[in-house]
């Protein structure tokens, strides 16, 4: 820390990942790159031969890639949305976790969009979407709202980064020129702080409706068709709730790893996991509510076209996926998250991993069974994803982790200035705020 005469300061541990890189980092890096290269090879194989190398067929035209698309876009709801809500609610415990959440959003969005592009039969023609846009297609609504979301959440990630970049710039480490450009001449004056606060608050408000629109529109891709068990109004809110659900889970996993690897136990405390755990519990119940409503409506209506799909999920070919989803999304996380005793960092980690697996299954169970049971009689075709699809999926996950790791090596993953500000200002502020809630405390 004492390089070039900068004196050791508080929160030095937050800068450590940027200054020191251990052997385990490089080992992980190479492992991830190996997986990514494998996935690239798999994709090139698909590009050259056609989508025939997947397990898809008629009428199951969509499979793992579309599942991944919905899944990754869902994960992206962790960051920006949760961070924005916590900021606006002035939840003081947010300070150490917002950054790690916002990064997830920005990075994972690329893989959501990427999976759609991977799924195209003519990827060389993807620019046709811009050349000949046809706005009655929900896919184009996706393109628009995801683009806005990506831009907005990138700005929303960047704004609170500026003071921290300035700290790095003044710290005399590597890549000085890089931080100097990104710090935008930040000096930490009153005026700059006021501007920044206003910018963050504005983006926080803007980002919420955009985030809600993104996952609603993703659900519209299915809900706007007249296919059985897709054509339902519940899909919008159901997808948004599911997205936040899997998003919080992803955030908890990311926080747990950051805490372990960079020894940030002091910053990411059990209370953070406890609070996020409660949020995850709420979403678990909400998820159950939506799922229950959806299937009860179908069952009670008993339209034979819908019931064919219903039974294929409950007792038929897709029963293992469906009940697996129920186990991972509800049965496992519910008891863990219900009790304060098990709502520990490790407990919430287990619940979160379970939720992430469950939510991937949920998307699969939405996409494939409907396509397997079309309205008109069809040859009984089964869909099994091939090694190409699994490889590409693994590559997406590895690539996401890689980008996340690199981010933590370039920028502090816990917002330094916000933690400091919390120490300095918020104690008094919160006290004042509480006074305004209560009679007899001297504030009118």
């Amino acid at each position: 820390m004492n390089k070039k005469g900068v004196k050791p300061r508080a929160d030095a541990i937050l800068l450590q990942p940027i200054q020191k890189t251990g052997r385990s980092f490089y080992l992980t890096l190479f492992a991830l790159i190996a997986v990514i290269l494998w996935a690239v090879a798999a994709y090139l194989y698909q590009y050259r031969n056609g989508l025939g190398v997947t397990g898809l067929s008629r009428p199951i035209f969509w499979g793992v890639y579309i599942t991944n698309f919905v899944f990754f876009i869902g994960i992206s709801h962790a960051g920006t949305l949760i961070s924005a809500i916590l900021r606006l609610a002035r939840a003081e415990w947010r300070r150490a976790i917002t950054r790690s959440a916002e990064v997830i959003t920005v990075l994972v969005l690329f893989f959501g969009v990427g999976n759609i592009l991977i799924d195209l039969g003519g990827p060389d023609r993807m620019l046709n979407v811009l050349k000949y846009p046809h706005f009655t297609s929900p896919l184009l609504w996706d393109v628009s709202s995801i683009t806005i979301y990506l831009i907005a959440s990138s700005i929303y990630l960047y704004l609170p980064l500026i003071p921290d970049i300035a700290i790095l710039r003044d710290h005399a480490g590597r890549y000085q020129w890089f931080y100097r450009i990104l710090a935008l001449n930040w000096r930490g004056t009153e005026k700059q702080h006021r501007l920044l606060e206003r910018g963050i608050a504005f983006m926080a408000i803007l980002v919420i409706p955009v985030a809600v629109s993104v996952h609603t529109v993703v659900s519209f891709v299915f809900a706007m068709t007249i296919q059985p068990m897709w054509h339902t109004a519940i899909f919008g809110p159901y997808f948004v709730a599911g997205a936040i659900f899997s998003g919080i889970a992803a955030l908890i996993v990311a926080m747990y790893l950051i805490r372990k690897v960079y020894h940030l136990e002091d910053y990411l405390r059990p209370v953070h996991f406890n609070n996020l755990g409660i949020l995850l519990l709420v979403m678990t119940l909400l998820w159950f509510y939506f799922t229950f409503t959806e299937y009860l409506t179908t069952y009670y209506g008993a339209d034979p076209i819908h019931m064919a799909i219903f039974w294929s999920k409950f007792t038929g070919r897709f029963a293992p996926y469906f009940w697996g989803m129920f186990l991972f999304c509800f049965v496992i996380p519910l008891p863990i998250l219900s009790f304060a005793k098990t709502r520990t960092p490790f407990g919430t980690l287990i619940a979160s991993i379970s939720v992430i697996i469950g939510m991937w299954l949920e998307r699969y169970v939405i996409v494939v069974p409907t396509l397997t049971n079309p309205r008109l009689p069809n040859e009984a075709v089964r869909y099994f994803p091939t090694w190409v699809e699994w490889s590409v999926f693994a590559g997406c996950l590895a690539f996401f982790v890689l980008l996340y790791m690199i981010f933590t090596k370039l920028f502090p993953i816990v917002s330094i200035w916000e933690v400091r500000e919390g120490r300095k200002k918020s104690m008094a502020e919160v006290q004042e705020r509480i006074k305004t809630y209560l009679p007899g405390s001297g504030v009118r």
Binding site: G52, W62, G121, G122, Y132, H134, L139, R375, V381
Partner: protein
């Protein structure tokens, strides 16, 4: 198009004629077992009851060329469209292969080219020059042999006369040995198809969806 199920024997001559006319790729038994066969027209089996007390019917199923086609709405690049005759067509060179139309079509009449299409050497000479070959990664489906319409129109223009109803019929209609298929202008109230479409036997497939198919069936045994 009107298909009289009383006259249809399920011989599949329409299917064969369509394959020959439209350069439909031959994909081999392995791919076929995976459900990747392309049939612009195919026979749908509707079977009710249990053996031996069966009620079975076969229904030739081309593209319905809906009046309100769900496929056109969802295409993100406008590669599928309805022309002035009401035929739903595809611009193969624009299709990006997202397969949204194939999942949106309630009749599942749309097909995808999973691989580059291939023909045995002996068959290459017999490909139809009027129909373009689809590359891998695009969607295709029945076009009511639209190329025949273009040709017929040109011939009529060359002969300096109006296009007559008999100038243009799709290959399946031409090949049907039982004369079970009729083709013509549904907008003309005096055309054969128009008259048949008003018969009491007339019904449409999945009529309650409101897609208004332009393929009308005459039910059998009445």
């Amino acid at each position: 198009m009107v298909i009289d199920l009383d006259k249809c024997s399920g011989c599949q001559a329409c299917v064969v004629a369509c394959h020959a006319e439209n350069n439909i790729a031959i994909i081999g038994p392995e791919q076929a077992a995976m459900g990747r066969t392309i049939h612009w027209i195919e026979l749908l089996p509707f079977v009710e009851g249990e053996y031996p007390y069966l009620k079975a019917r076969l229904l030739p199923r081309p593209c319905m060329h809906c009046e309100h086609p769900p496929c056109i709405k969802v295409c993100p690049v406008g590669a599928t469209y309805a022309n002035e005759e009401g035929i739903v067509g595809i611009v193969y060179s624009r299709c990006i292969g997202c397969r949204y139309c194939t999942t949106a079509c309630p009749y599942t009449v749309r097909y995808f080219n999973w691989y580059e299409p291939k023909w045995p050497k002996e068959m290459k000479g017999s490909l139809n020059r009027d129909v373009s070959i689809r590359r891998k990664g695009v969607v295709e489906k029945c076009s009511f042999c639209h190329h025949r319409l273009l040709k017929a129109r040109e011939r009529a223009r060359a002969e300096n006369r109006e296009l007559l109803p008999d100038d243009y019929i799709p290959a399946c209609v031409q090949a049907c040995p039982g004369n079970a298929m009729y083709f013509g202008d549904l907008n003309d109230p005096f055309s054969t198809v128009s008259k048949l479409s008003r018969e009491r036997r007339a019904f449409k497939l999945l009529e309650d969806l409101g897609t208004e198919p332009k393929v009308i069936y005459l039910s059998e045994g009445m």
